[in-house]
């Protein structure tokens, strides 16, 4: 196996440039790590993500149209010799039927979201998911509304049946949502039945883990987990999921507790940005205490919710 060993190495001017660029890269990393979310590098990144988000927004219907066109082209190519007017008409009808089915499914999904909003009393706009993270390490989605529509970083994002994440960045008409399953995510929660507080964290495997419970608290499989609102990161009283498995025992207090999320972002196409939520958890607590339980489930103002969270 002859090797080509006679050629020269990296030429000196290139070597200097290489060292300079590597040093610049490390410098950028250092500045990025030290500066806050408002720093110039983060701002530049936000601006780029805003532009790409807007491009995704424009491209979303085009993408669907492209899919239709590709499908039609494939169908035509499959039957070039027997193409007749009747066949064309048939294709058009099929396409119409396909579009109608698409609209029906979309209406169904939107109706589910509307039902969820009516049942839970959550207020906030519905947004369409227009993009997903371009990086394997980052579990996030892009939605088609942003700061111009009132979306702010930190707002809770819900699917039809549960919390899926939190707004991490906003541009004018798009927002990036960090999913609850991201390893860097964490939501203050409580077990609905026992009112014990903990934190649900994402993981690299995509599973949700319930952590930071008191040592003597051992939840049962099936226990419902809702946001507690502590720390103000998520609206209080929104369902996250249910306990799926418990390895924690009295002798093994650090055993893992896995939570099965109610909603999975991978199958969602629309979400709700929660502007405010009635404090159902506080209302439920009040109901359990026996004072005004019938009226306690009514929607309360966000201020009321904050006050209740603060009181806790």
């Amino acid at each position: 196996m002859p090797l080509n060993l006679q050629q020269s190495g990296v030429r000196p001017p290139r070597r200097v440039l290489l060292i300079v660029l590597l040093a610049v890269s490390l410098g950028l990393c250092a500045v990025y790590a030290r500066e806050g979310q408002d720093g110039p590098l983060h701002a530049a990144q936000d601006a780029v993500l805003g532009v790409t988000g807007s491009a995704m927004r424009v491209g979303a219907p085009l993408g669907a149209a492209n899919d239709d066109a590709a499908e039609a082209a494939a169908d035509l190519a499959a039957n070039p010799s027997t193409l007749t007017a009747l066949r064309e008409q048939n294709e058009q009808l099929r396409r119409l039927l396909s579009d109608t089915e698409e609209y029906r499914q979309e209406a169904e999904r939107l109706r589910e979201l509307l039902d969820m909003k009516q049942v839970s009393g959550v207020t906030g706009p519905t947004a369409r998911i227009i993009g997903r993270s371009a990086n394997a390490w980052d579990q996030s989605i892009t939605i088609d509304i942003g700061s111009a529509e009132g979306v702010r970083p930190g707002m809770t994002i819900m699917g039809a049946t549960g919390v899926i994440g939190q707004v991490s960045r906003t541009a004018d008409h798009t927002s990036t949502v960090r999913l609850l399953t991201d390893p860097d995510s964490g939501a203050a929660v409580m077990i609905q039945s026992s009112r014990e507080n903990g934190i649900v964290r994402g993981s690299i495997s995509g599973a949700l883990f319930l952590e930071d419970l008191d040592d003597d608290v051992i939840p049962q499989v099936g226990d419902v987990v809702v946001t507690s609102g502590l720390g103000g990161s998520y609206e209080r009283g929104l369902i996250v999921g249910a306990v799926a498995s418990v390895n924690k025992t009295a002798n093994n207090p650090t055993g893992a507790i896995v939570v099965n999320p109610n909603d999975h972002a991978s199958v969602l196409e629309e979400v709700i940005v929660v502007f405010s939520a009635p404090d159902l958890a506080a209302a439920e607590e009040a109901g359990q205490d026996g004072d005004g339980g019938d009226d306690a489930g009514d929607a309360v103002s966000p201020e009321g919710g904050d006050a209740a969270a603060g009181a806790e």
Binding site: N4, L28, Y32, Q45, A55, S133, A134, N135, D184, I204
Partner: protein, 173 residues
């Protein structure tokens, strides 16, 4: 390097970034998401090791960092360091066999993905190194490797311009 080769590289670089934004998230397999700028750079490094500079990987790495939301400079460093390293290594080891090219592609890609993973862990990514390697680095590396090998074979088979690949040697002869 001729002007049309430079133009091709610029067009390829822009296409790689666009593919990363619009296509990569939709063709993920499990936890493996392809990194088109990385694939493009490493293939360019193996195709033309003598002319492979460090501006292209730096620019593409920076673009990747910007569009992916990762730490700025992490992929720029990883891609610049290890794709230039791959080119340097291949320039010495090339023996006109596909095997050697694939070995260089694989080693280069693995080092790039591992270096990027180390950066993310240093930035506080919430997992341990073993899980990060098994659940992110390895799937992404394998996905990138498949794409890189296919791209290398296609370019080598249909688009390679042998008249410009070794101009110094041709001039001397």
């Amino acid at each position: 390097m001729l002007w049309y080769q430079r133009a091709t590289i610029v067009v390829g670089a822009v296409a790689a970034v666009l593919l990363q934004v619009f296509l990569a998230p939709h063709i993920a397999i499990g936890s493996g998401v392809p990194a088109f700028p990385v694939v493009m750079c490493i293939v360019a490094a193996i195709m033309e090791p003598r002319f492979y500079g460090c501006v292209l990987p730096f620019a593409l790495g920076l673009a990747f960092d910007l569009v992916s939301g990762g730490p700025l400079g992490a992929m720029a460093f990883s891609l610049t360091a290890f794709s230039v390293g791959a080119a340097w290594f291949y320039e010495r080891m090339a023996n006109d066999t596909v095997f050697m090219a694939v070995v260089n592609l694989a080693i280069g890609l693995l080092l790039i993905e591992m270096c990027y993973g180390v950066f993310l862990l240093l930035f506080g990514y919430g997992t341990n190194p073993f899980e990060a390697f098994a659940l992110r680095t390895l799937p992404c590396f394998l996905y990138d490797l498949v794409l890189a090998v296919v791209l290398y074979l296609v370019i080598n088979r249909f688009f390679r311009d042998d008249t410009t690949s070794q101009p110094m040697i041709k001039q001397l002869s």
